[in-house]
Amino acid sequence: MIEKIKKIRFTPRLILRMVIAVALLVYLTWRVVQVTSSEAVFGADTWLRFLISGLVIGGMYALIAIGYTLVYGILFMINFAHGEVMMLGTFAGYFVLEAFSAIPGPGTEGVNFLNAQPIIALILAFIVGAGVAALFGFLLERIAYRPLRGAPRLIPLISAIGASIFLQNAAQLLFGPQRRQYSNPDLLWRGTGWMIPVGDKSVMLTYTGVFSFVLSILLMIGLFILVKKTKLGKSMRAVAENKQAAALMGIDVDSVISKTFLISGALAGAAGVMWGIHNGLFNHYVGFIPGIKAFTAAVLGGIGNIPGAMLGGMVLGLMESLGPALLGLDFQIKDVIAFTILILVLIFRPSGLLGEALTEEKI
């Protein structure tokens, strides 16, 4: 231990970092102690509510973050338009649910299809949402990224930013800038749920929240199996390891990359539909902030690392919902917390929570 410490060269920059780290730690502990020790602003029920909302939103972040991580693992580029892919999934799911709420259900009078067959409607909404998002992920790679393979790294990133702006504005022009409301089936109506008694109050565990959380966990398990057990997963890992070697082993690198974009798009689309069902209101801007947050989550967990993305998403969701309360700050600051975490992780532990140290080339 002491040997190791002796080996460290105390450059000014390292000292500066350490000073920042210590100052931050002191401040954070001071705030937390102050908030928790002074008269309780929030009761146990409020904390539980924060915890639940953090887990639900964390699940969605995790799904989107997996998309970033998959693409980054293979192409070493940030798919900046990934949040927009999610937005398109939200719109697609919305249109499916709207269509079902407009047509009558089979056999029943006065009940629309959405409430007569809610399970089928939801499954179809998710399939279409994920499918549309996957399609756009695929097209994105074909049009905006594939012609740029092998170019300096700044160039595909700028192209990705352009694609993101394009998709966002195209959605605004197509569907209008106003906010829209998801029409959920009565089964999953927003604002309904189980009541959990905490002390003399009770906290609502919303159906949509539980639904989203469970579905995101299931999708993550599915992805994990796909990557670990199937042939496609194997070839994806091989391409991520070394493209040339993978090509020499007979793997069609281009098609693997396309499939990666399809998978990550589908996950983002599913997350988008979930977002709509859980939060209700959305517009063309819905994908942007979650996209950046999910990127933060991916970096937090260690980019290129799939379990890392899942963990990072959950941790970020929790930090965002618990952080402002713990630090006694305003809730407007929520977004600032995510960005601050991103900056701090990149400064102090660029490899993330679970990532191994990356070589210069991959960072």
């Binding site: 940030i78 352009g162 950046i292 990127f295 933060t296 600032v336 960005f339």
Partner: protein, 520 residues
């Protein structure tokens, strides 16, 4: 043969989708309006909302022309019949998609379906217009006829201009004649002459002095915006173009400059009301300091990480400015009003004075940026951009130079922020969204990374042109996004790329002209 047919088919389908996309975003109607303005066939005061059908025909024909042009091979190896067929195929495949769309939308519309809840650009009038005010079927026939005819026309045009044709040869000989007259070399040597150069410069200076008086305040406003974007572009060009660090939160420095200036000079909320020029200087210094402090921890990151972190930083600044936390300092979402304006001979600055100030600053900025580029520092930056590891190995202190670039870029942003706030007499958090950063980045990239004339050109193209085409302002960001992608694919070096410095060395004598074999 088969392959070129497939190509025509594919391109036709793509163009068909593009045309439908245009219809869905309402661009078709806007374009028809613009064509109407050009032809003068719309009366300005007409109460009748009907657009002349001719405009739609012209627009569709134009799209068909593009289809035909892009579906035909440019090398001129296809025979006339092949070209004709490929134009036909492209036009047909494009029109099939459009016709399907028109038939579905049109028949639903005649049955009374209202699309506007989901697709706001497909109102009744618009659909009627897209059907040429007839039935869907008749409209479909018209679309097929127009698309196919114009597509074939486009293909034939390509064929007649392609190499080997008579038109091409005639053009080439014409080109040779004109280039002889307008020799670039003569122009250059003329500019090399001291007196002529001085004369030209004086003429330009006089012109620039008098233009703001002639333009009127509207043009001064637009050109002032362009000038502010040139300044911003020059600053970001130092960071992105010279040192190769992609910073997406550039708006943060702009905001810091604007807010520093505004808070120091406005009567609310602090009532400091400092001397304007001093406040401007302080604004520049504060943003430079911000650049230093931000750069310190993050400039070790590379490429995409840096982009996202700085993007986050830009958003943090905006959120903090408008948050309740800092309302006492920054006045929150309301923004700062009555920002100070400079005096000139006892009078408040008017738009002409601002324009002159901005022109001077742009000239000074161009000068500084040019000198920086040619200096030792500039060469260090470029070496970092090209290869950081090699730069480090050759003794460039990469961290120091990167932070210097960020500070200088931030200084430019702070200066333009201060002028921006002063000119608008107002500054609010919503002036500083991410889109400002993206716009500036577009200015730098479209012009050409690292190229000074490119920045000026980019600012004019991206900020000046949209003001001229006011009808298209809704589509501006859409075009920006598409432009970024297309530029990266087609012309990553920008509209006015930097000429790479070349080694001046004697040509080796006695180099045998060995043909280089290229493996297929």
């Amino acid at each position: 043969m088969n392959e070129s047919l497939k190509r025509s088919l594919r391109l036709g389908l793509i163009f068909g989708i593009v045309v439908i996309f245009f219809m869905l975003i309402g661009f078709t109607n806007v374009a028809a309006n613009m064509i109407g303005d050009m032809l003068g066939n719309i009366e300005q005061t007409s109460v009748n909302p009907e657009l002349p059908v001719l405009n739609l025909v012209l627009f569709t024909g134009l799209m068909g022309l593009f289809t035909g042009v892009s579906a035909t091979k440019k090398d001129g190896q296809d025979s006339w019949v092949q070209v004709l067929i490929s134009g036909l195929i492209a036009g047909l495949s494009a029109s099939i998609i459009i016709v399907g769309f028109i038939l579905i939308v049109g028949s639903l519309h005649t049955q009374g379906v209202d699309f506007r809840t989901y697709l706001p650009n497909l109102g009744g009038n618009e659909i009627q217009y897209l059907m040429f005010y007839t039935t869907p079927l008749a409209a479909a026939v018209r679309f097929i006829l127009i698309m196919v005819a114009s597509s074939i026309l486009g293909s034939l045009i390509v064929k007649s201009f392609s190499s080997g044709s008579t038109v091409n040869r005639a053009l080439k000989s014409l080109q040779q004649k004109t280039t002889k007259k307008l020799d670039v070399q003569t122009l250059k040597s003329a500019l090399g002459n001291k007196f002529i150069l001085m004369g030209a410069l004086v003429a330009v200076a006089v012109l620039m002095y008098f233009l703001p008086f002639v333009w009127g305040s509207y043009w001064n406003y637009i050109m002032g915006t362009v000038a502010i974007y040139i300044l911003l572009g020059l600053g970001l060009n130092i960071i992105v173009g010279y040192s190769g660090q992609l910073v997406l939160g550039y708006v943060a420095f702009f905001a810091i400059g604007a807010y520093t200036f505004a808070l120091l000079t406005a009567p609310e909320p602090h009532a400091i009301e400092m001397n304007l020029w001093l406040a401007m200087l302080i604004a520049v210094l504060v943003s430079t300091l911000a650049g230093f402090l931000i750069g310190l921890p993050i400039l070790n990151l590379r490429g995409d990480y840096l982009a996202i972190v700085t993007l986050g930083f830009g958003e943090i600044v905006r959120i903090l400015i408008r948050s309740d936390l800092l309302t006492s300092i920054t006045n929150g979402p309301k923004g700062v009003t009555n920002v100070g304006q400079p005096f000139l001979r006892g009078q408040l600055f008017n738009d002409t004075n601002y324009m002159h100030l901005l022109m001077l600053l742009v000239l000074a900025g161009l000068f500084v940026a040019k000198r920086l580029k040619d200096s030792r520092t500039g060469r260090a930056w470029i070496s970092i951009r090209e290869d950081q590891t090699v730069a480090q190995a050759t003794g460039v202190n990469t961290f120091r130079y990167k932070i210097l670039a960020l500070m200088l870029g931030a200084a430019f942003a702070g200066l333009s922020g201060a002028i921006f706030a002063s000119r608008n007499q107002f500054t609010g958090p919503e002036d500083f969204t991410l889109m400002v950063s993206v716009n500036v980045l577009c200015v730098v990239i479209v012009g050409g990374m690292g190229s000074l004339p490119g920045v000026v050109l980019g600012a004019f193209v991206l900020k000046g042109l949209p003001e001229l085409l006011r009808e298209l302002s809704d589509y501006r960001l859409l075009v920006f996004g598409a432009l970024l992608v297309v530029m990266m694919i087609v012309r990553p070096n920008g509209l006015w790329p930097v000429s790479r410095p070349k080694f001046r060395k004697k040509p080796l004598e006695a180099t045998p002209d060995e043909p280089v074999e290229v493996e297929a």
